[in-house]
Structures are given as C-alpha cells and as structure tokens.
C-alpha cells in the first residue's frame, strides 16, 4: 500500500482533493438527475408516446378508410345490382305491358270489327226486311192489278210469305 500511496501522491492524489472531486461529481449527478434526467426523459417519453399514438391513429384511420372503401364499394355494387335488376324488371314490365296493350288493342279491334259486322248484318237484314216489305207490297199491288181483284188480308199475308221465301232462296 505504501508504494501505491507514493504513486498516487506522485500523481497529486490526496484524500481531501479526491473527496472534493467525488462530491462535485455527485453534485453534477444530482443536478442532472433533478433538472435533466427526469424532465427530459419524461418529455421524450411523452413525445414517444404521442408519436406512437399518432402512428396508431394513422393506422386506425387507414384501416377505417379501407373499411369505408370496402363498404362504399359494396354499396356501389349493391346499387349497381339493384339498378340492373330494376332495369331488367322495367324491361320485363314494359314488355308485358306492351304485350298486354297489344292484346287489348287486338281485342278491341276484333270487337270493333265484330260490332261493325253485326251492325252491317243488322243493317243488311233491316234493309232486306224493308226490301221484302216493299217487294211484297209491290207484288201485292201487281197481283191485285193483274188479277183485278181486291186482295184480302189473308191473301196479302200469303203473298208476302211466299215472296219472302222466294227472296230468301
């Protein structure tokens, strides 16, 4: 120990000075611990946490955006499907309506034709009846003049019936 003591004193190491330097170093340590390590590490930790939170938020927003895009795409697809379905239904409906209208128009046309035919027939029958009546009267008049005899009601009916039968044939 004596030799070590000599070396140390040769280098200017003395207990008082050594202890003084140690105390100064410890004071520096305490200064840094009180004023630097605590506040700075706390603020660095807070900033790190804030950055992590921001990063997490960013990831969350990114995920939400992706979800929103997926949902929006799904909605668009659904809307497209609905639109396509509606268009198809509209086309079908339009075709059915057109068919129905066409049938109805055809039916109406047929009805009109049938009514016209009936009217024509009735008119023809009416005219024919009128004609028969006129022709019967003409035949009665002619028969009366030819025979010079006043025809009775029975004769007139008989002539009318025969004339009508002849005309019908």
């Amino acid at each position: 120990m004596g030799e070590i003591g000599k070396v140390l004193s040769g280098l200017g190491v003395y207990w008082t000075n050594f202890i003084a330097q140690v105390i100064i170093f410890l004071i520096v340590y305490m200064i840094l611990k009180k004023f630097a390590f605590g506040p700075i590490m706390a603020i660095l930790e807070e900033r790190r946490k804030r950055i992590e939170e921001t990063e997490a938020d960013r990831e969350k927003i990114k995920a939400q955006l992706a979800d929103s895009e997926t949902v929006a795409q799904a909605k668009i697809d659904e809307a497209n499907e609905t639109a396509a379905r509606l268009i198809a239904e509209a086309k079908e409906s339009a075709a059915a309506l057109a068919e129905r209208e066409k049938s109805r128009a055809t039916q109406e046309a047929q009805d009109i034709i049938a009514k016209a035919n009936e009217a024509t027939r009735l008119e023809r029958e009416q005219q024919l009846a009128g004609l028969k009546k006129d022709f019967g009267r003409l035949v009665i008049n002619a028969t009366g003049k030819v025979t010079g005899k006043v025809l009775t009601s029975e004769d007139q009916d008989k002539i009318n019936q025969e004339t009508a039968a002849e005309l019908a044939n």
Binding site: T16, F25, I27, L32, F37, P39, I40, I43, L44, E46
Partner: protein, 294 residues
C-alpha cells in the same frame, strides 16, 4: 530566424512545464483542498447546471432551441447506452453514464478555453502578482479539471460502485460469482471438473482486472488530457524555445497551437465517449447472463 530553428541542439524544451498535480491556492488551513482543478470543476458544475436549467426550465412538447439541444444530447447518450447494456439495464445505467459523459466532455472542453493554464498567481518575475498575463504563472488560476488525477479517479471509483450496485441488482451475487469463476461453454462431465481450477484462476485474474479498472479508466483520461495540455503548452512556448522574436513568437503561438487545439477538441469528445462506453461495457459484461451457458 531560420538559423535559430536550424540550431536545435542549443534548444532546451520544457515540454513538461505543466505540473502533474493540481496546485492549491492556499497551502494551509481549511481551504487547502481548493486547487485550481477543483475550482474549474466547480465552474464546470455551474455551467452544466445553468445550461441544463435553461434547457429544461419549462419543458414543452415543441422544444425551444436550448431544450432541443439538451434533449438531443440526452437522447443520443440514452440510445448509445441502450445499444450497449440493453433495454432492461439502460434506465438504471443511463444516469451514471450520462453524467460521466456530460461532465467529462464539458471539463475537457473547458480546459481548452483561453486563460486556462495561462492566468494565475505568482507570474514569473513578479512577487505573487495576480493575473500574470505576460508571463507564465506559477500557480494557474484555472487548470483543466480532467488533468487532475483526483477527478478522474473519483469518477472511476464512483463508476465502479455503481457498476457493483447494478451488477448485484440485475444478476445477484450467485450469478455474479458463477459468471466469474464457473466453467463456461456448456462443459459437462469430467472435462468440466478438470477445467475448474483453470476457470478459478481466470476468475481471479478477472477480479484483479476489475480492481484495476478505476486505475486504467482514470489514468487513460488523465494521461490524455494532461498530455494534451502539455502539448498545447509546448506548442505555445515553441517560439520562445526557438528564440524567435517577439512578433514571430506571438505568431507561432497561434500557428503552432491551432491544429493541436482542434485535435484536443476531438480528444475531449473521444475521451468522454471512451470513459462512458467502457463503463457501459463493464456493466453489460456483468449483467448480460441470459445469453451465456454456465
């Protein structure tokens, strides 16, 4: 002038003009412990306090330039410490290692300020005149704090104490003894027991090396800074040694000193880093047991 330079055999260099030990301001009494290096250590302590206080007075998430500088320094040191000792031990080791780095760095750089070693008492040719600016003072008022073995040894002893505390806390005494003396490398059977004496011997060597750590740490720092101070002193007095004229001597003080000044700035950072890094490595060696197979 050239003839003076050429005749080197007649020149007597006083390269060791810087005394190896710090000098007290008063020889007797209570204040006899107050040496010029302790005085500088107190100034460095105050400077660190003021800078740190200015940087952390009102810490905000958006930092001021001062706070930014302090944060950068601490963040940088913390990351370095974490890389060496690992994330688990880093919070415990960081305060000591950061204090060592900051204190040694500021002390080293403070020693390069004008006036350190050149202003003092008892200037040559005067009767204990104060501030002997024109002559070399017998007792400089300011001496680089890290050019005092008391400071470097004090820091080294503190680091040894903290190293021991962290080691006992993280590894425990049993793990520590196993780490020191037990056979390593996953040996089993006869070979393991055969090699026990060798590992015991290696453990003893390890213990000796641990005991000598404060000496190696402190001497390395002291030697580098003291050598740097002596080198700057030698460069400053080179013109006088060559016997140059007043003007040439004055110019030589600047020209010869300037490159070494920058070198010493670098050495200041380097030595602070080496000191803190070695302490970190010592802590890492005694606490990182998980990867070893005993």
């Amino acid at each position: 002038m050239l003839s003076s330079i050429g005749d080197l055999s007649n020149v007597t260099f006083h390269l060791a003009a810087v005394p190896i030990s710090a000098q007290p301001f008063v020889q007797t009494g209570f204040l006899s412990f107050l040496t010029n290096s302790i005085f500088v250590a107190l100034i460095v302590m105050t400077v660190i306090f003021l800078l740190v206080r200015a940087g952390t007075k009102r810490p905000t998430l958006i930092p001021s330039p001062m706070q930014n500088g302090v944060e950068f320094l601490f963040d940088f040191v913390y990351n370095q410490v974490e890389q060496v000792v690992g994330p688990k031990v880093a919070p415990r080791a960081f305060p000591l290692l950061c204090t060592i780095f900051v204190y040694v760095l500021f002390a080293n750089w403070f020693g390069l300020l004008p006036g350190v070693g050149t202003i003092g008492f008892g200037a040559e040719g005067t009767q204990m005149g104060f501030f002997g600016l024109s002559q070399e003072p017998e007792t400089p008022l300011l001496r680089p704090a890290t050019a005092d073995m008391n400071l470097t040894l004090g820091i080294a002893v503190c680091s040894l104490v903290v190293w021991f505390y962290i080691t006992m806390r993280e590894a425990g005494p049993i793990e520590f003894l196993k780490h020191m003396f037990a056979p390593k490398g996953g040996l089993t059977g006869f070979l393991k027991w055969a090699l026990v004496p060798i590992f015991l011997f290696v453990g003893l060597i390890e213990v000796v090396s641990i005991i000598f750590r404060p000496a190696t740490l402190s001497l390395r720092l002291f030697g580098n800074v003291f050598a740097g101070e002596s080198l700057l002193h030698a460069m400053q007095t080179l013109g006088d040694q060559f016997g140059l004229g007043t003007v040439a001597s004055f110019i030589s003080k600047i020209v010869f000193t300037l490159p070494f000044f920058f070198l010493e700035i670098l050495v200041g950072v380097l030595q602070a880093t080496v000191f803190a890094l070695l302490c970190a490595v010592y802590i890492q060696l005694s606490t990182a047991h998980d990867e070893e197979d005993h």
